[in-house]
Amino acid sequence: MKSLKPILAGAVLALGLTGPAMAADPVKVGFIYVGPVGDGGWTYEHNQGRLAVEEHFGDAVETVFQESVPEGADAERAITQMALSGADLIFTTSFGYMDATLAAAEKFPDVKFEHATGFKMGDNVSVYSARFYEGRAVQGTIAGHMTQSNIVGYIASFPIPEVIRGINSAYIHAKRVNPDVEFKIIWAYTWFDPAKEADAATALIDQGADVILQHTDSTAPQAAAQSAGNVITFGQASDMSDYGPMPRVSSIIDNWGPYYIARTQAVIDGTWASVNTWDGIGAGMVGIGDISDAVPADVRAEAEALRDALGSGEYHAFTGPINKQDGSVWLADGETADDGTLAGMGFYIEGITDDIPN
């Protein structure tokens, strides 16, 4: 009992202090991740953003995260748990958390939620995403030039607008520099399953693909390409520079840090409002990783020029004339796609031979 007394005293003191000390309480920022932070891709970069928040605010902010949260019913439980534990701002960092985020947001009107890559908003739910398709345009250009077999393999995750947009953008720009190019697409139905991603990469390589694009999060396709030799890949979500200069010749790097810092600052200032953010190369949310020496200098220059044109806004990745897969006109000559159509994109463009699975 003797030792309990000071603790009790301390607790009473702490309780007494909570009133005036309220303002100095650290803001608690939570993150829900779809994969492990060590995936080397998507979740790794979100976690880098979290670390940037910690570094920027120091003691003023406390961050928590939960990794490998499955998309589906369990996600709502994880988000609710985080809100119950006192988080003031929660980033849910995968498309499949969309409905779970909204459901949790309804239960906790005082907590701010930010859902990545989704399109459903609420009073306390913002959505944010990056224009990855701009990066895909650069990849497509390099892929079209680099392929010898004219077969580009694409490991897709789920048939959602973001992924379809990426395939279309890569295809348009590959086709522009190489009219003979053909895309083979495998739907892995996962964001992160290294064994399956490796098998998918191997299957594509076996069928003649010498360029592998991936929209899944692990580095396993890079390793499969490396052991096959003479196949090029692109880092996805993260630089994946461990696999350079071959097979990884470039990458799309997601840069979430500045956005996370800005949103945390808004909560601290009390100015947070529900917004829809969709930034690209220009705003720095999408980065293009170093193009390695395996790419000839003229191709590299062309890719970098495209990157800069996309960044400055003088060129839009979806600029007509572009037809839909069934041959009907989508964009007339010189017309650019509006964000609404892009956000809900559910069709392939002309020339892609596969069907989008239901």
Binding site: G38, W187, P194, A200, T202, Q207, A220
Partner: protein, 307 residues
């Protein structure tokens, strides 16, 4: 759809690689079951082997040492099962399931620092001339040593069980442990050795996933391969050659599905992922209708030398 873009030679070569982990685990489990022990902990032993093999492989830079460590690690966790079921006579089904859960948790704990790391590369055997032969070159001579090891193991297990004295004793223990005991054979000792062998094989299979097939470590890497191995043993009615057939068949399903997709034919993923189990159920129905199932007589029964 363009099926001609699937190259059957490369398809067979890559299904051999995809099937090697389950082949290793299944041939080990078959020996365990032949000794009369049902160890449902294959998944747990595999994933333990996967993480131990990866950790040792990364730290030493030698995949070979990784595989040796994986076999030892798999055997070590299998001994937990062995002591519990053979000396303490715990229920084999419950203990096996417990071993799976334990292995999944333990591997996640050990593997945390290794997520996102690259493993050392296991060189393929590049036999001059032979590897370059058309058709048989890529299928038979273009693999890494572990693929050959798995095939050699199948031959050794077949020969050992069928023709050697030790194999005869092991089968006797599995068919009727009381009779074997009456003849003076050490039932518990034979079974412990079989369990350790099964654990080592499962460990090797797991390490093949983390060191060769993927190759990296993530939590839950084996993703149900251990359960497929268990299904294969039943599918094969406890015969080594059928284990080989089953492993290549089931391993082939996943590779084939991805190849069909790349060729433009989309079969819903769910059908192909349930197919190994559906086939196993069909085989079970078939062999029970025939009346002879081929399961060892004492399978799953505890032995205690009393009276």
């Amino acid at each position: 759809m363009d099926l001609s873009s699937i190259n059957p030679i490369l398809l067979i070569a890559s299904l051999m690689v995809a099937a090697t982990p389950i082949l290793l685990a299944a041939i080990g489990e078959m020996v365990v079951e032949k000794a009369g022990v049902l160890n449902l902990g294959v998944e747990g032993m595999m994933i333990t082997g996967a993480v131990v093999g990866f950790a040792i492989g990364v730290n030493t830079g030698s995949p070979a040492l990784g595989f040796i460590a994986a076999a030892l690690g798999g055997a070590a966790v299998s001994m937990l099962f062995g002591v519990l079921t053979q000396y303490l006579l715990s229920n084999q089904v419950a203990t096996g399931l417990g071993l799976t859960l334990f292995g999944l948790g333990l591997s996640a704990l050990i593997g945390k620092p290794y997520e996102g790391m690259k493993s050392p590369v296991l060189q393929k055997l590049d036999i001059p001339v032979l590897s370059d032969l058309p058709v048989v070159g890529p299928i038979l001579f273009g693999h890494d040593p572990v693929v050959y090891l798995s095939l050699i193991l199948v031959v050794l297990v077949w020969y050992g069980l069928k023709f050697s004295r030790a194999g005869l004793i092991l089968r006797a223990v599995g068919e009727n442990h009381e009779a074997a005991h009456a003849l003076g054979y050490k039932v518990i000792r034979v079974r412990l050795m079989a369990i350790a062998f099964g654990g080592a094989c499962a460990g090797l299979g797991g390490a093949y996933i983390s060191l060769v097939r993927v190759p990296q470590w993530v939590e839950g890497l084996t993703a149900g391969a251990g359960w497929i191995a268990l299904a294969i043993v039943v599918f094969a009615s406890w015969r080594p050659w059928r284990v080989l057939l089953g492993a290549y068949l089931f391993g082939g399903v996943s590779v084939l599905q991805l190849n069909l997709q790349a060729a433009g034919l989309a079969i819903p993923v769910e059908y192909l992922s349930m197919s190994p189990y559906v086939i196993t159920i069909v085989v079970l129905v078939f062999i029970s209708a025939r009346g002879q199932h081929g399961a060892p007589g004492s399978l799953g029964r505890s032995f205690h030398a009393s009276g």
